[in-house]
Amino acid sequence: MTLMPCAEFEDRILDLVEHQLAVGERPAVEAHLEVCADCGEFARELTALDAALTRELDAPVLPADFDARLWRRIEAESAPRPAADCVERKRQIEAEFAAQLRSLRAPAHWLPAILDGAAYAVLAVVAGLLLMRWAPELAALLPKSLPAGGRDWLLAGGSTGVFLLVGVGAAFRRQLGQAMGWR
């Protein structure tokens, strides 16, 4: 036999059985259950099922020593410190990052940079003048066995090297300072 409760009453019968139906709706549903055999049977079966489920589905209970065991685990793992440390470390990193960001966004101070540039330019000019002034003497110091063209190339390479060093020093002054531990 197929049980066919009336579709419009199904939900309300369930609510009635579970005591969830609004008081105002109860009379209509109860009156319907008295005249409709299928819905009446459906309500009786739902009530029996509800009683069986209430009886059978007992809430399991945790053992009495649950809390004690949990606290022992917590103590053993000393859990809060690492978590607190992580939060503190995260705050430090964020603060450092924010400070770096502020320094990058700060207006550039042009005067020190201009003075730096001028100093390196003067240094390069002095080095050039010295090279020009002492070039013949430096050429005389080179071994006689070298051909004349070789001496010229050696001088040109040497002077280029000096200017390159000055240029690299100017360009990477801050990095060089950090690498060498200068302030």
Partner: protein
């Protein structure tokens, strides 16, 4: 609802906050774990793991979600991870026909309704329900038929709880009577 715990958290009094939280949510977390895992011992182990996670996570909890939502989310995720682990390393299942045969023969698994006289193997029938129905109906009865509580614990709308519950009951009636009941 959890204002007292929130106050302790704001004061960074983790131990006091955790103590209050444990007292308030211990049994609910256990029942949620039980409804998801269907195993009391594993549910107890998972409850321990959940509270360890909560303890470790307390300093990072900033109140974005309500405390209960946060706790139930940790519980569901922990249990679902366990279920995935179980699926990867299967042992035995109540759905296994061989196991069903044994459980059907255990008198303790059967109950007789005093009014109708109909025999209802409630636990066996529950085990045969589709998972989504079984979770809702189990939790509904474990939580003393509190719809809102079940919706919050499973993070599903209240209407969905009612629908799943209704369908679950119709399925159970169909099993009990061994006659087809139309499922909406």
């Amino acid at each position: 609802m959890d204002d007292d715990i929130q106050e302790r958290l704001a004061a960074q009094d983790w131990r006091a906050a955790f103590g209050m939280l444990l007292e308030r949510y211990r049994d609910k977390v256990f029942r949620l774990a039980f409804s998801l895992l269907r195993d009391e011992t594993q549910a107890e182990d998972m409850t321990q793991d959940v509270f360890i996670k909560i303890w470790k996570g307390l300093p990072g909890y900033h109140g974005g979600a309500s405390l209960s939502t946060w706790i139930y989310t940790i519980t569901r995720n922990t249990c679902l991870t366990e279920l995935k682990r179980r699926a990867a390393h299967p042992t035995i299942s109540l759905q296994d026909p061989a196991i069903e045969e044994v459980t059907d023969s255990i008198p303790a698994m059967q109950t007789t309704d005093p009014e109708s006289g109909a025999e209802m193997d409630v636990q066996v029938m529950l085990a045969r329900l589709p998972e989504k129905y079984r979770r809702v109906i189990t939790l509904f009865y474990l939580e003393q038929k509190a719809y809102e509580e079940v919706a919050g614990m499973l993070s599903i709308p209240l209407g969905t709880v009612k629908t799943l519950l209704f369908r679950a009951k119709k399925e159970l009636l169909k099993m009990a009577a061994r006659r087809p009941v139309p499922v909406a």
